[in-house]
């Protein structure tokens, strides 16, 4: 470890330092806006430092972390998403009684954990990053202690994440017992060099590692926590869980399985195929049965992770780029969607019933238009980033001729349309000529209708995200160039 090594870790150091600074400042003087400002400055500095360290890439820093362009790209994505979530949190927690300041410490730590994950090339850093992320998320999920749902979400996440971490550790131990190394690249060397290794133990270890990944990514059959956490956690925290936590994990999934060469095992490929198909089918069908918007998005996220797995299964350069593109589009879309939910939630409860969205377009056209754009992006309709993402994933699948997965993707994504359209229908219903029909229902709803005070920070975030969504959807060449020149080198 020398100075240059330390220098290349600058983004991680800044994130960690920012968490400490925020913690000390909160201890001295409680101020929501000050805390937010410090958090944003920390994130912005960490983001800026990515440009300083870029010339050093790729660089192996100890055997634990590798700072290559792939890691830099994903760290940037994580930091940018955290930045947006922090802004959304400000408007949301401003409306809540209690102390919101500590949330930002947790947010910074979670970002740090994710950044470690995307840069890790070793089981130890993998596990450390995962735990930094998970422990922060336990507390973030349960941050609003006055409500029962967030507490339930926090406890559930704690128990399930801890047990899945145990599986993951056991899997790592088995692989280590078999191969004697925890370094991804060395695993590949050993696997290719000596094909007579005891594959059963190696496969068992890999299977347990897949369990760990599957839990974090909420893939079927490890998805059971998802709807409850999505529903229970405060809306901006859900946005974080849905994007940063999953995105970082997927980045690591790609690195681990491609670097270690275990993706080429027939059994591993088969398992991922089954998981992808099950996730796409179960996610989409279960989402059709929901009436709660956050639960719909939870199940749809299961399906979307299944779509990304299709690209992952395709293998090769195109797959890495397709996955990355899809994840970027997904980040923009999901933060936007939860941003809208955040904006129209008030201090009493989150806006999660479809009823809360009925006729939103006629009351708040801009918010409804943003939500429409996000939902259409999730459904993969043109002019949105989601369309190009879906196109990219399907082309990755088609180029590798994994037809079964591609067809399941197509058929299930059509089911998916149904529930996105249901939310859309609600957004645009309630025109004057149907008021007569709905009058009886409206009286019932009005007793619990929300009265949110819209926050400026949230509005800015949503505006920026919508512009990005359309820009990527209409002119994807810019993002493709960036992705091509960075993650193309995994």
């Amino acid at each position: 470890m020398n100075v240059t090594d330390l220098f290349t870790l600058l983004p991680l150091l800044i994130l960690g330092g920012a968490a400490i600074v925020v913690m000390i400042v909160v201890a001295i003087h409680r101020s929501h806006i000050l805390t937010l400002t410090l958090t944003l400055i920390g994130l912005a500095l960490a983001f800026a430092s990515l440009w300083w360290i870029a010339p050093e890439a790729p660089r192996q820093v100890t055997s634990l972390l590798v700072i290559d362009r792939y890691a830099i790209f994903y760290t940037g994505l994580v930091i940018a998403a955290t930045f947006a979530v922090a802004l959304l949190c400000y408007g949301y927690f401003e409306r809540h009684p209690g102390n919101p300041e500590e949330l930002y410490i947790l947010l910074l730590l979670a970002a740090l954990g994710s950044a470690v994950l995307v840069a890790s090339s070793h089981f130890i850093s993998f596990f450390l990053g995962l735990e930094i992320l998970s422990v922060s998320l336990y507390a973030m999920n349960a941050y609003i202690r006055a409500w029962s749902l967030p507490l339930e979400a926090g406890i559930k996440y704690l128990i399930l994440a801890a047990s899945s971490a145990a599986f993951l550790l056991f899997g790592m131990a088995l692989v280590y017992a078999e191969l004697g190394t925890m370094d991804f690249a060395k695993i590949r060397e050993l696997v290719t060099a000596s094909p007579d290794l005891n594959r059963a133990v190696l496969l068992a270890g890999t299977a347990l590692i897949i369990t760990g990944f599957g839990f974090k990514l909420a893939l079927v059959p490890f998805h059971l926590w998802t709807p409850d956490i999505y529903e229970g956690a405060p809306a901006p925290v859900t946005a974080f869980v849905a994007t940063v936590s999953k995105g970082a994990m997927f980045a690591l999934l790609l690195r681990y399985f491609y670097w270690s060469g275990t993706h080429h095992f027939g059994a591993v490929f088969l398992v991922f195929t089954i998981i992808a198909i099950a996730s796409m089918i179960a996610g989409n069908i279960l989402a059709m049965l929901q009436t709660n918007v956050k639960r719909i998005l939870a199940y749809s996220s299961i399906a979307h992770m299944g779509y990304v797995l299709v690209a992952f299964q395709a293998g090769g350069q195109l797959a890495v780029q397709a996955v990355t593109f899809y994840l970027v589009a997904y980040f923009i879309t999901i933060i936007g969607a939860f941003g809208v939910i955040t904006m129209i939630s008030d201090g009493d409860r989150d806006a999660d019933s479809i009823e809360d969205y009925r006729g939103l377009f006629w009351r708040r056209p801009a918010l409804a238009a943003v939500f429409t754009a996000m939902l259409l992006s999730l459904a993969g309709i043109p002019v949105t980033a989601g369309f190009v993402g879906k196109f990219y994933v399907i082309s990755a699948g088609a180029s590798s001729a994994i037809w079964l997965l591609v067809f399941v993707l197509i058929v299930t994504s059509v089911f998916g349309l149904y529930y996105y359209l249901r939310i859309l229908v609600a957004l645009y219903s309630g025109l004057a000529h149907e008021e007569a029909h709905a009058a009886s229902g409206a009286a019932m709803v009005s007793s619990s209708s929300l009265a949110p005070a819209l926050s400026i920070s949230g509005g800015v975030v949503l505006a920026v995200l919508t512009i990005l969504l359309v820009w990527v959807g209409v002119y994807p060449a810019t993002l493709l160039n960036i992705i091509h020149s960075t993650v193309g080198l995994l």
Binding site: F391, S395, I410, V425, H433, L480
Partner: protein
């Protein structure tokens, strides 16, 4: 550049209408009307500029192009190009665009700005579909026109609108995705053979495919267009969507969206996969004939006027499909004429039914009788377009159906021709029943409603004029189509072998100076 403007003008007008609609509904209507009219005038300018060029045999095919690099990483270009086929369908698009703005003038009173945003964006999407010659761009536009159509049905539709809107969206989306797979496969196969990544229509033509692959890819395209067309048995979304949509939505659905399916067959299915299409032609033609008869019989059985008109579309588009797969000059000319005439006569019928509903608040035939006494002008117009729909000589639909039957006969498909001709007979049944039940008889319900107002007359007269023009002097249409037709036939060996024997056509003056 003029092609780009054709798309950009409605897009911008839609946004303007949305904003304007918040202050004044009237402003939104006028902005949309002006935008559609400007596009119509631009279309006329293009037609007068290239009319003679299109009449001659093609040199390269496209008379006007816009081509920019869009996504270089994938070889996607923003490439619009115009030939006779797209020009004619564009003219139809703009005409029906104007009509649908007029048709919703009084019907739509809520959310006027947003309504016109959707209306204009559908038009932009349809123009994109007719002009795109990059397959990615085509798919982009193809999907894009769904969303505003969905909103049109789901927000301003009738009682059962949400079911209809979702069904419409899901049917077209699923079939569209199958086409996307076919497009991507073609793209990768072409890259594999030539090392070039491209979605260009002209480059992908003639890609060498094994018969098996070609058949699969052809089916991918075919299903997408067959659902839109709609071909039996993929037609089930249509009666729901047409019936529940507001008048403007029904006009655009029947007049334009169905035509994108027929256009796709003509432009993509047969030229890209000529051998597979020839192999598949018998099945397609049999399904087309089933659609003709089935649509006509179901139309005869309806009591809801909009549903009746909707089922006639299944029947008429069956003729178009039959003509396309017969693939000789007469059949293709007939299919094109069928598309245009159907767009106008069915659009007009939907408009009249919409006006009836606006006045009487019902579409049930049983409750409407003896209307002629109270609204003679509207009844007369309805009779005129019903006659058009049943194929009365002298009106456009007749030319289309006649040429399709002739072309099918020429292709030695006498059995199919006979059955299809029975469809013309069946159309008499539903058309006459429609007139008798709704307009003739005693005015037992004491209807007393307003006859056509000047705005409605202004909308209907051009359609009457065009339909008569198509019926008595269709030659300009065929002339404009000529170069495209020659080009299309060069790409393909005829799917159904055509005999070169003596033909009754040589005796008819219809052919004009065509070879």
């Amino acid at each position: 550049m003029i092609l780009l403007w054709l798309i950009v003008i409605p897009l911008i007008a839609g946004v303007l209408a949305w904003f304007a609609g918040r202050w004044s509904a009237l402003a939104a209507r006028w902005i949309s009307l002006i935008a559609a009219s400007v596009d119509f005038v631009l279309g006329l300018i293009l037609w007068s500029r290239y009319g003679s060029e299109l009449h001659l045999a093609p040199t390269h095919g496209w008379v006007e192009q816009v081509s920019w690099i869009w996504v270089p990483q994938f070889g996607i270009r923003f490439h619009l190009a115009l030939d006779g086929l797209s020009l004619l369908l564009l003219m139809l698009t703009f005409l029906l665009g104007i009509i649908s703005v007029l048709a919703s003038w009084r019907e739509i009173q809520d959310g006027v700005g947003f309504f016109h945003l959707n209306l204009m964006w559908i038009l932009a999407g349809i123009v994109g579909v007719f002009l795109a010659v990059d397959l990615f761009l085509f798919y982009f536009a193809w999907e894009l026109m769904l969303v505003p159509m969905y909103f049109l049905i789901a927000v301003w539709g009738h009682e059962n609108r949400i079911y209809a809107a979702i069904k419409f969206f899901i049917f077209t989306q699923l079939s569209g995705l199958l086409m996307l797979i076919a497009i991507l496969s073609l793209y990768f196969i072409h890259h594999h053979l030539t090392g070039v990544y491209t979605f260009e229509y002209d480059d992908l033509l003639g890609t060498h495919l094994s018969p098996h692959t070609a058949l699969l890819l052809m089916l991918g395209f075919f299903v997408a267009f067959a659902v839109k067309l709609p071909m039996f048995p993929f037609h089930t979304w249509l009666p729901d969507a047409h019936t529940e949509a507001p008048t403007a939505g029904s006009i655009i659905l029947a007049g334009l969206l169905l035509k994108t399916g027929a256009y796709g067959m003509l432009r993509f299915v047969l030229p890209l996969f000529p051998d597979a299409a020839r192999q598949f032609a018998p099945i397609a033609m049999i399904l087309a004939v089933i659609g003709i008869i089935y649509g006509a019989l179901l139309a005869f059985g309806q009591t809801d006027l909009k549903r009746l008109v909707a089922y006639t579309s299944v029947s008429h588009l069956g003729f178009v499909l039959l003509g396309i797969f017969a693939w000789n000059t007469w059949a293709l000319d007939g299919a094109l004429m069928g598309m245009i005439a159907h767009g106008i006569s069915t659009g007009a019928l939907f408009m009249i039914v919409g006006q009836l509903q606006e006045r009487t608040h019902t579409r049930e035939m049983d409750r409407l009788s003896g209307l002629w006494a109270t609204i003679p002008r509207m009844s007369g117009a309805a009779l005129f377009f019903a006659m058009g729909s049943m194929g009365l000589p002298g009106l456009g639909d007749f030319i289309g159906e006649f040429l399709v039957l002739l072309g099918t006969y020429e292709a030695h498909l006498i059995g199919l021709t006979i059955v299809a001709a029975l469809g013309v007979l069946a159309s008499t049944l539903y058309a006459l029943r429609f007139i008798q039940r709704a307009f003739h008889g005693a005015n037992s319900n004491q209807w007393s409603v307003q006859d056509l107002v000047p705005r409605e007359v202004v909308a209907l007269i051009p359609m009457i004029v065009v339909l008569i023009w198509l019926g008595v002097y269709p030659q300009p249409i065929f002339n404009t189509f000529n170069s495209t037709l020659t080009k299309l036939q060069q790409y393909t060996v005829r799917p159904v072998q055509n005999s070169q024997g003596p033909s009754i056509m040589s005796l008819l003056p219809l052919r004009g100076d065509r070879p």
